[in-house]
Amino acid sequence: MKKFDKERVLLGLAAPLLAIVAAFLVTALVLAATGKEPFSAFGIMFDYGVKSDSQVYIINKATTYYLAGLAVAIGFRMNLFNIGVDGQYRLAAFFAAALGGALTLPGFLQIPLIIITAMIVGAMWAGIAGVLKVTRGVSEVVATIMLNMIATAIIGYLLQPGRLGHLDSAGTKVSTTPLPESARFFDFPTQPDPVWGFLIVAVLAGVAYWFTLSRTRFGFDLRTVGQSGSAAEASGVNVKRMVVTSMLISGAMAGLIGMPTLLNDSYEYSGDFPVGIGFTGIAIALLGRNHPVGIALGALLWGFLERGTGKLEFEGYDKEIVGVIQGVIVLCVVIAYEVVRRYGLKRQQRQVGEKLAAQARNSDNQEVSA
């Protein structure tokens, strides 16, 4: 059986590697076709990506992406497509920032309060889609897309001077009231730039995700629903409740996405708070195959690509190439995973069939000789 496993690991690694190689090939072709020299571009990206400040940047970026990947992955493990992570984290970060700006408590109270607010808001927003799905049969894909748009409108309405918005002194930027010093999360004093302390929370979230899914009854039930809703139902899982619960958890996790930025970086929610990370999360969850370690690697890869292409612009390339690389990676990776999955399944069936046939032959022979 051990050998079996080793081959499975190999197969598991084959897919993402294939995809990344394919992506770089395609990108090289695109670069070459548009009259740029591809290999020095990759050289620049790589050299730059391994510099110490780049590493800090990548880790900080990856912290956010990792949380996004986890939030999406929870849904995916359930076969739920939470396209709404995007709206959930924005709404969550917005309310958390508004609350954080309004209060001045000691840090040990205020920071958890902000984080919990974000998680609750994210969970509630995702929960709407969950409830609509189980009670009214509305596809979560459509519901979460609508909710994303509605979240944008709500934030737009509330983020106005006179409501929850706060106009800066130059009169050009509205944001929530900036968080007081006490509400800022700690940094690791790395050089030259600090690594965000929220990394710790992300790591903990990853461990919790792994442990819950693979070591607890709840996680087993959740995965069961993801693999076969009908079998889960028959096995005693309350599928409807599980749908709502996992949407809530996914939303709560989504609530964390905006926190590294809010608590370690911007300290306020304004019009330029990052958008679209929910969709990045989808890409990263796909890349990491919903596995906590895989998602981490995916998040780091994304951070690396963004860092590296930032340098490309410095060297006269168009940094928009990063979109091409990322897009190709995602498309290749989903295809590669599927091909490998199917191949693995077929191969295993065949192996099992052959082994059993061999056993049967052996026993037949023995009977004959007996």
Binding site: A153, P161, T172, K173, Q191, D265, F273, P274, G310
Partner: protein
């Protein structure tokens, strides 16, 4: 490991200017382009070495910090952040590079080594309002804002005040194309067109569109209805090749002369007396103005000059919010 920028080291003596554009970057026929013109001028006159980087949509404050830091670290001085989105990033990065002068367009920073360059958009818009009210047949004028951001609201406020001061019976319709954090209103000409048509259908005959890329749609709609006027924004839109077909319908454009702000800053650094604090480019120093391409303002120029004088001497205070 090694830091990416350690090799940098600033070679004193040579003027190196770093520009960090907002989304859109050089070539946007608008705000960023205006800043780029200032840079180009410095390049021509001072033989400055330049480096231009551009923001992309959906980035985080950290991305902007990284961009500014890499320029500062690369020995570029001054480093200019184009757009108020750079405010927080400049606050942070300027503290790390005290010897570098930073320029911040459209926002104000308290840091010692930051020169904030702000414009009184409302004053330019006020003049546009005056022009609109004068040119309109029955005082129905419209304002189309891309997104209801404070910056755009400044335009709206000035425009409305100008129109009402000129014609107390004027009817000013204000319409935004998207709201809040949804910035799609800056890049949706179809929405601009629909909004403009809505106004035109109601008898509005002068429309001021401060809506980025969406403005093209509004101008197109106006051009399709004879006897109506559009007012452009940010750059002289009558000269925009993309709008060449409609240039006869563009009465004027409210421009912010970001280029002079940028050029002045570069000059001050070159002269060894870097600007700091808030540098307001108002109507008085032609920081904002109306363009006259096509000479459509000839008949009302006197009244405009009068309004300008009043603003400059302070007898008219233009509001910045509606």
């Amino acid at each position: 490991g090694q830091s990416s920028t350690e090799a940098g080291g600033s070679d004193e003596g040579k003027l190196k200017v770093g520009m960090a554009y907002d989304v859109g970057g050089r070539g946007d026929n608008s705000f960023n382009d205006s800043a780029a013109r200032g840079l180009d001028k410095a390049k021509g006159e001072y033989k400055a070495e330049t480096k231009e980087l551009t923001a992309k949509s959906g980035e985080t404050p950290a991305d902007r910090e990284q961009r500014l830091a890499s320029l500062a670290e690369g020995g570029y001085n001054p480093v200019v952040g184009v757009g108020f989105a750079y405010k927080d990033a400049i606050d942070k990065v300027s503290a790390k590079y005290p010897k570098t002068t930073f320029g911040l367009i459209d926002s104000a920073s308290e840091q010692k080594n930051v020169a904030s360059i702000v414009f009184t958009e409302e004053q330019g818009s006020y003049l546009a309002g005056v022009a609109a009210a004068l040119k309109s047949k029955d005082g129905k004028v419209g304002f189309i804002g891309g997104v209801d951001l404070p910056l755009i609201k400044k335009f709206a406020a000035g425009f409305r005040k100008g129109a009402l001061d000129t014609n107390p019976k004027a009817d000013v319709t204000v319409q935004y194309l998207s709201t809040g954090t949804d910035l799609s209103g800056f890049g949706a000409p179809d929405k601009g067109r629909a909004a403009a048509k809505g106004m035109l259908d109601k008898g509005v005959d002068v429309i001021f569109a401060a809506a980025g890329g969406s403005g093209a749609g509004a101008i197109e709609a106006v051009a399709a209805k004879p006897g109506t006027w559009a007012i452009g924004v940010d750059s002289d839109q009558a000269k925009d090749p993309a709008l060449a077909k409609y240039s006869n319908s563009i009465m004027t454009s409210v421009v912010k002369n970001v280029d002079s702000g940028v050029f002045d800053l570069i000059t001050s650094v070159k002269d060894g007396k870097p600007k700091t604090g808030t540098n307001s480019y108002s109507l008085a120093e032609d920081g904002v103005s109306l363009t006259t391409t096509g000479d459509h303002l000839k008949d009302i120029q006197a009244k405009l000059d009068e309004a300008k004088k009043k603003i400059v001497d302070g007898s008219i205070k233009v509001p910045t919010t509606l």
